[in-house]
């Protein structure tokens, strides 16, 4: 299950490489420029991805904080 850690690469691709392709103001999403909407969406998705990694990571099974 350690390979699921590679999911953590996705936020880097989305937030560093992604803006080169979505660097535009339109279409507005909920009144927000498209690039900002993309970044905010990926912040939320990053939380989800990290939650999945945390749940699957055997390092968190030792009963330690």
């Amino acid at each position: 299950m350690r390979s699921i850690r590679w999911l953590a690469v996705v936020p880097f691709l989305a937030l560093i490489v992604g803006p080169f392709f979505v660097n535009r103001a339109t279409p507005l999403i909920l009144g927000v420029p498209f690039l900002l909407a993309w970044i905010v969406a990926w912040i939320l998705l990053t939380s989800l991805i990290m939650a999945v990694i945390y749940a699957a990571d055997p390092a968190n099974r030792e009963g330690e904080p």
């Binding site: 850690r5 953590a8 936020p11 880097f12 937030l15 560093i16 803006p19 660097n23 420029p33 690039l35 900002l36 970044i39 905010v40 990926w42 912040i43 990053t46 990290m50 990694i53 945390y54 390092a59 330690e64 904080p65």
Partner: protein, 188 residues
């Protein structure tokens, strides 16, 4: 006297009082003072991190940058997010190593890990040198915020002195328990 001053004063006093109260019920020794007995819960760490992010830069620098330059300010959102992704992999091993070796500070870590007292001294000096401009920036911003919010009733210099004394007082008394104290419920 204007309407904003009581609120500014109340906020400063509340921060001071909660900072002192954070010490309550703790047998204060170096381990409690520096790393909170290594027993922070998830909520406590979350509030510490939130406090770390919301600096003067967030209030003045970030908003000014966004107002003046527009979209480039979005980088702030990206680097914060990615920094925590990296932290997930980097920080727990450091925490475990530090607990096993009973280390208290960043320079302790380098001294033990690389078995070099010189490296520890260099790290400590770099830490201090790097903190000075950061502190100057934060206090400068605090002064500006208080001066503007108080309609000039409290000068920037006076605000900085009051802020520095308040922070120094509760950190000296409560250590790391005091720093998130003003915002956090006690988790232990």
């Amino acid at each position: 006297m204007n309407g904003a001053l009581p609120f500014i004063a109340a906020a400063a006093l509340l921060a001071l009082a909660l900072g002192f109260l954070a010490r309550r019920g703790k047998d204060m020794n170096l381990e409690q003072w520096t790393v909170g007995g290594r027993g922070f819960g998830a909520i406590f760490v979350f509030l510490l991190l939130a406090g770390e992010i919301y600096t003067t830069f967030t209030f003045l620098g970030g908003s000014g940058f966004a107002y003046g330059k527009g979209a480039p300010a979005y980088y702030i959102l990206c680097y914060g997010t990615l920094a925590y992704v990296l932290s997930y992999f980097m920080l727990p091993p450091i925490w475990r190593y530090a607990r096993e070796n009973r280390l208290y500070s960043q320079s302790d870590f380098f001294v033990r890990k690389y078995d070099s007292a010189t490296l520890g001294v260099i790290v400590a000096l770099v830490d201090i040198a790097a903190l000075i401009p950061y502190l100057v920036l934060q206090f400068k911003g605090l002064g500006i915020i208080v001066e503007i919010a108080g309609y000039g009733a409290i000068s920037s210099t006076l605000a900085i002195w009051i802020g520095a004394v308040v922070v120094a007082a509760y950190v000296m008394v409560s250590g790391v328990h005091g720093s998130p104290g003003p915002r956090s419920p006690r988790t232990r």
